[in-house]
Symmetry: C2
Subunit: 307 residues, 2 copies
């Protein structure tokens, strides 16, 4: 058994990330007691039923009382309100972090509500599935995934070290990053791809009405992967786009520009342009496999390969 | 042991699909002898080395001699030339099929070269991985996947029934479809999504040059799935787009229109529009799972989940 890093951890919001954090914390023996709070009574009831958290409280303030670490696991759009709710109940010297997919807006929304005597260290685990809610978590979600910490100026070194140790204890690889840079990198690797997947699935759905569900029936590789992305939590993603507006729109602008160039190549029959472009993108895949963030098992388009 | 459906099958082109067909035919005892031909001497050598096909021939004409079924497994752009090469060597009464992702252009390119005394039944297995080449095949590739047969007018009923039995014997679910309708459905479910994934990965690659490979390092869920799609064979996909130009451009036009509407919702802060759109696309995922074309295991963004 490890020595716990924190005596008492509070998880505010009990969806995929919080529930996975709970199971990962328990797996690693990383905290003494983990408390939880969710706005919805139904979610709190589910949490009690499945043993999610050592204590479930009916108010956020009660959940954070005496906590050494408070983790905000709510959609980005309500982070500021939740921070205001818990601020008076925070323990002196506690660390406050979050798991939001956007960092600049969260810092601007949460920071002003927090008292001087706590440590605010925003964070973002780069992990998820298309499922959501308190039943969707599992202890292995963060294993070998990156978690980005985005300390604000003047963050306490020991507080950062403890939070890093917690994430590493949950299996993650931890790096620090500046908030604006974080938001740009995520706009490319996650936010823009999600919006594009949502869009393509929406187009197909329109067409489905005239082709008698063939689009679903014949959802071969390609479209099927898009539907998986486009099944992610609507509230979370609405808030991501509204709160990382500039970076997302910038990347989408570049995307549209490139797409138009490829469309023109198709229209004019410029096969060399297409071939060169596709050859270049194929090489990028190799880089990702070498970075250890995926395998080269041929599971594209197939959930299981029995080789 | 089943009774073989064909005495002699010729596979022309020895990539992912042909090599998977060979192993699936052997698994099911569906043919007496399977011959193979590839344009590249290196590919033929590899095939001989790994035991791919019972006989490897150095010309397409030699491979198709006496074959009861000839399967064209070459990129769509060279189907016509290959058909011209093999036409004089075809056995009377043989069935000629193909596995191309586009059907109208293949029919127009191949049909005119074939003699009157053979049966031409175009086909398209909706299965694949991001790997290619003679070593990439495996017997299970077609299991529970759809194969679409696109008979031309006057196709012989018995010839269709035999080809259907072959695909079913390889594990596929077989349906018939009109060529133009096939091309439209595939533009939505496969061709447009591939072009979009290629585009997004290309944009990220441009940005990668200024962010020191962070884009690859932090390729969270979303982008990583795109790179898998964008790792598919460049020659095959160039030919798909050039040969299904109209349907692909039509779908891309609709996609751009929807994307602009979502971009505007982000820019103006219209959260309801985004939320409603994302809720609708989430429901589509459920339809695909119910259609049996994927599972709801939470593998989005993760290659393995150890629950």
């Amino acid at each position: 058994m490890n020595t716990p890093i924190y005596n008492r951890v509070a998880l505010i919001g009990l969806g995929l990330i919080a529930s996975s954090m709970f199971w990962a914390i328990k797996r690693g023996g990383l905290a003494g007691t983990v408390t939880g709070y969710a706005r919805s009574a139904e979610t709190r009831e589910t949490a009690r039923e499945i043993g999610l958290c050592d204590e479930i409280h009916d108010t956020a303030a009660a959940a954070v009382k005496d906590a050494d670490l408070v983790v905000l696991c709510v959609p980005v759009g309500v982070m500021g309100q939740v921070a205001a709710d818990i601020a008076p109940a925070l323990k002196e010297g506690a660390t406050i972090t979050d798991v939001g997919s956007v960092k600049r807006e969260v810092i601007d929304a949460v920071g002003p509500h927090l008292p001087e005597n706590v440590h605010f260290i925003p964070g973002h685990p780069l992990a998820g599935t298309e499922h959501s809610g308190p039943r969707s978590g599992f202890a292995e979600l963060f294993d070998n995934r990156f978690t980005l910490l985005v300390p604000v100026s003047g963050s306490d070194a020991q507080a950062i070290a403890d939070l890093r140790a917690l994430w590493e204890g949950m299996g993650a690889r931890v790096e620090e990053m500046d908030p604006d840079h974080h938001d740009l990198v995520l706009a490319v690797t996650s936010h823009a791809p999600h919006l594009i997947a949502y869009t393509m699935v929406g187009v197909a759905d329109d067409l489905r009405r005239v082709t008698d569900s063939e689009v679903i029936k014949y959802s071969a590789a390609g479209f099927r992967d898009f539907t998986r992305i486009a099944a992610s939590d609507p509230t979370m993603w609405r808030d991501v786009f509204l709160n990382n507006k500039d970076a997302t729109l910038e990347i989408l602008g570049r995307f549209t520009e490139e797409l138009f160039a490829l469309q023109r190549a198709i229209r004019t029959g410029d096969g060399d342009h297409l071939y060169d472009y596709f050859t270049r993108t194929r090489a990028i895949r190799r880089g990702i496999i070498e970075a250890g963030q995926d395998t080269d098992a041929p599971d594209f388009g197939r959930s299981k390969v029995k080789t």
